[in-house]
């Protein structure tokens, strides 16, 4: 990992090139190195431990290297795997879940949801409609994810304008470039054949059923291939108050990919389908008595090309993705209540330059996007074409005394072209164009051995969504009557985040606090009115000035074996600028989780707890949510045997069957979240 990050190469020649970057790296790492216990630091020290080290220039900040260790992968992701991506990352700092049943769950970052949180798959957009409505599921099977990472800081601008939120990156590795790299480096025989297979099964009692994934990567005559199948079939969710009907989930996915290396070029293509049938429960005011069944399908075709020059680790990366997404909502078995068809194409070109002048880790890129959406059935948004174009750049440089500065900016536009429709007022069918710009500057200073102080200052923005602009009607699955406004302006805001990290001999801990002043924060807010035809509460999208601030902290022991403890807490609050500084809606309450475990070489056993305080800070017409506390336990085994790695993770969540209400769930007034739940993950990699 370190080799990739710092480009340090060990050679027999004693000549050593020491430049400013190496001095920075050596200073930073020696200052903190003796106390670092993340693999980042360990590998770095090992590299420095070699008597002869040639360091090419660094291509990444120390802070980004540390952030990479927070990526959920390997045993970390196995330990946390759950029904959805949101559930899997729920205990990460600043994360909450917006949900409407177990399938329709989407991550919330620092109290921001919807299009403030971007989801990507293998570096390109995740083509679904999960950002637009709480009943829309994220169209990605979590069991097929090799890595899950939360992008923070200036790097967000490589994917999104919404620096106040974040980016959740899902890595499926559908284009098997890694295999071609391994082949190229491990063998001079181009006909060498390598096979890597994996199978994982997940089952739980909270929603009886199973999820399974079966995949294989192979390298045949220099061509790397990947094939993967997954299926999930889980029944209704069991809560402490009984079974919540119509919460079953059936997912299927198929992925194939190929990659080929030709001199300094790498080419790859992949195709992934994802189908999901899931239920949204009923029984709410205005909702269908038996709930709504949703069928969605997604097809992604991706082409990727890489050019890697000989002398430097620079990379030109071109990704083209064509996505088709189809979504149907059924009020009865027979008829379609709502339908969406989305066709989206996205071209992304990114040039990574390791060093240029005083800068390092430079990312320059452009993104072009075309999206067409059609609606059918009982949907009140006109069909719309939208286009987006943007340029982004991120670069780091060294300041004085170990200071690293990262500058990033994104500039672009979003263009909406609605078509006339019987469901929309003619006056509301108006073309809209938005010029967007955002920036972020990050100052990261090593203040003492192993101690980092980081300040981010940023401007955030986002264009309104099609629904926020043009929707005028009921959304039965969400139990709301939603009103957009075609005159909305883009959302923007200015913010800052201060973070302190301490990598000590026995503990590593971090604490951060953030604040964002939103100008025209766009959110659907309950108006208190009712659409009397449908008897649905009316939500109106409005833009208001708002102040959002919060804090999070986490601490963990640094031992890799023996006693281990970890704890984390997040809190966020938001206020609209008005006479009373009234509270913003859908803000998660204070959340705390902790784990204690004992780690042997192949076994880990532990107990954990999670609690949330009651949410009494409410927007108009929002309901209070009581707090809860849950307890859980974990037992996991990992071992290697004859070219294969095996893992078994047995987890018990909410063992005392507590009544858990999620403030960000539309179902909270009717039923609690999942009750006592015992899950097992069995995984083998060959």
């Amino acid at each position: 990992m370190m080799m990739k990050k710092m480009n340090i190469t060990t050679i027999t020649n004693t000549s050593t090139i020491m430049n400013n970057t190496l001095i920075r790296a050596v200073m930073g790492s020696l200052l903190c190195g003796g106390f670092l216990h993340f693999s980042f630091a360990q590998e770095f020290i090992q590299d420095l431990g070699n008597s002869t080290v040639v360091a090419e220039q660094s291509s990444e900040t120390v802070l980004n290297g540390l952030r990479e260790d927070e990526i959920l992968k390997d045993e970390k992701i196995d330990r946390k795997i759950s029904t959805t991506i949101a559930e899997t990352i729920r205990n990460e700092p600043d994360i909450a879940i917006r949900s409407m049943g177990p399938a329709a769950a989407r991550p919330v970052i620092k109290g921001l949801s919807g299009s403030h949180v971007t989801l990507t798959e293998d570096g390109s957009f995740c083509g679904d409609m999960s950002a637009t409505s709480p009943d829309h599921a994220v169209a990605s099977e979590v069991l097929t994810a090799h890595k899950l990472s939360i992008t923070r800081g200036p790097q967000i601008l490589a994917q999104s304008f919404a620096t106040a939120g974040g980016v959740i990156q899902v890595s499926h590795q559908d284009i098997p470039f890694e295999i071609t790299t391994v082949r190229a480096s491990s063998s001079h025989n181009p006909n060498n054949t390598q096979i890597h297979g994996y199978i994982a099964d997940y089952a739980e009692t909270g929603q009886l059923g199973f999820a399974t994934v079966l995949g294989a990567n192979g390298n045949i005559h220099g061509l790397s291939l990947k094939g993967e199948l997954s299926a999930r079939n889980m029944g209704d969710m069991k809560t402490p108050n009984g079974t919540l009907k119509n919460t079953d989930i059936k997912n299927k996915s198929i992925a194939v990919g190929a990659a080929y290396s030709f001199e300094r070029f790498k080419f790859g293509a992949s195709f992934r389908t994802f189908n999901s049938d899931y239920g949204i429960p009923g029984g709410f005011i205005g909702g269908h008595p038996n709930g709504v069944d949703i069928e969605l399908s997604k097809r992604d075709f991706t082409l990727q090309g890489l050019y890697i020059p000989a002398a430097r680790p620079d990379t030109l990366n071109v990704i083209f993705r064509y996505n088709q997404y189809h979504h149907k909502e059924f009020e009865t078995k027979k008829y379609v209540g709502a339908e969406f068809a989305v066709n989206q194409a996205n071209l992304r070109v990114e040039n990574f330059i390791a060093n240029s002048g005083p800068f390092f880790g430079i990312r320059l890129g452009t993104e072009l996007d075309s999206r067409s959406i059609e609606m059918g059935g009982y949907v009140f948004t006109p069909p719309t074409h939208s286009y987006a174009a943007s340029l982004f750049s991120i670069a780091s440089l060294n300041g004085w005394d170990g200071l690293e500065i990262t500058l990033s900016a994104r500039l672009g536009g979003a263009f909406f072209r609605p078509r006339e429709s019987v469901v929309a007022d003619k006056d509301a069918i108006e073309d809209r164009n938005f010029a967007l710009w955002a920036f972020a500057v990050e100052f990261s200073q090593i203040v003492a051995p192993g101690k980092f102080l980081t300040l981010d200052v940023f401007r955030t923005t986002r264009a309104p969504t099609i629904e926020e602009l043009y929707n005028q009607g009921p959304h039965l699955a969400a139990y709301t009557y939603e009103r957009g406004y075609h005159k909305l302006d883009a959302e923007s805001g200015y913010g800052a985040e201060l973070e302190f990290r301490d990598y000590g001999e026995h503990f590593n801990w971090r604490a951060s606090t953030h604040i964002t002043w939103f100008l025209n924060h766009l959110a659907p807010r309950a108006t208190g009115d009712t659409n009397w035809s449908q008897l649905l509460p009316i939500y109106q999208v409005s833009g208001d000035d708002a102040l959002l601030m919060g804090t999070s902290t986490s601490i963990e022991t640094s031992a890799e074996q023996g006693f281990y403890a970890q704890a984390g807490a997040s809190y966020v609050c938001g206020f609209y600028q008005n006479e009373n500084w009234s509270d913003m809606p859908q803000i998660p309450p204070f959340h705390f989780h902790a784990e204690m475990a004992y780690i042997w070489q192949h076994v880990r056993a532990g107990i954990n707890t999670e609690f949330a305080l009651a949410q009494n800070r409410l927007d108009r017409y929002e309901q209070r949510t009581p707090g809860y506390i849950t307890f859980g336990a974990l037992l996991e085994f990992h071992w290697a045997l004859t070219l294969a790695n095996y893992s078994i993770v047995l987890r018990g969540d909410n063992l005392f069957n507590a009544d858990v209400r999620n403030h960000l769930s539309r179902l909270k007034s009717v039923m609690p979240e999942k009750g006592r739940n015992v899950s097992i993950l069995v995984k083998a990699e060959i």
């Binding site: 220099g222 061509l223 194939v256 190929a258 080929y260 030709f262 080419f267 293509a269 195709f271 008595p289 097809r299 075709f301 082409l303 064509y322 088709q324 997404y325 189809h326 009020e331 009865t332 027979k334 008829y335 379609v336 209540g337 339908e339 969406f340 068809a341 989305v342 066709n343 059609e374 609606m375 059918g376 059935g377 009982y378 949907v379 009140f380 429709s421 019987v422 469901v423 009607g473 039965l476 009712t530 009397w532 035809s533 449908q534 008897l535």
Partner: protein
Amino acid sequence: MKIKHLSLAALCAFYIACGDSNSTSTDQHEHFEAEGWNLYWPDWKLAYSVYQGKEDKSLEKLRVNANCLSEHLTVKFLDDEKKEVSAPKDDEHSLGWSVGDESILDIEACGSWGFHLKGVKEGETTLTLKVKHHDHADARTPQIRVIVDKALKAEDCPFQDDDEENEHHHDHEHEHDHE
């Protein structure tokens, strides 16, 4: 050569992956909106009224005897100014309903926008009326409480099936007068 084959394979994959058109199979339609509902007995006496979610409590509850049909009820709608408007006249809209407990109450459709309550057994349940449009409801009432009184012999029921003809007559008159 290998690159040519790969390019060809990628193109084929693209065609297979994305060759199908991805468009909606259902159309969007204009929808009927109502702020309130009035139900009338054949003598034009108001049987039930709700406007913007508020029921007219001065009216008696809807009742029918088990084993009997009620008199004909005609449906009218209220707009946002509380003016009575006629039911949609196209073929796409129709009257629909759901009954809380079908072992107590049933509904018998009568004409486009009329119906009879049909008592099944003694008890109390709810009735939700809807304006069905294709497969969904454009408008719906709150849950209307309906009381089913004790069972009567068919010949003792206050309303007899053979009154249907008269009732249709009323319905037409009613329609005419409120246009």
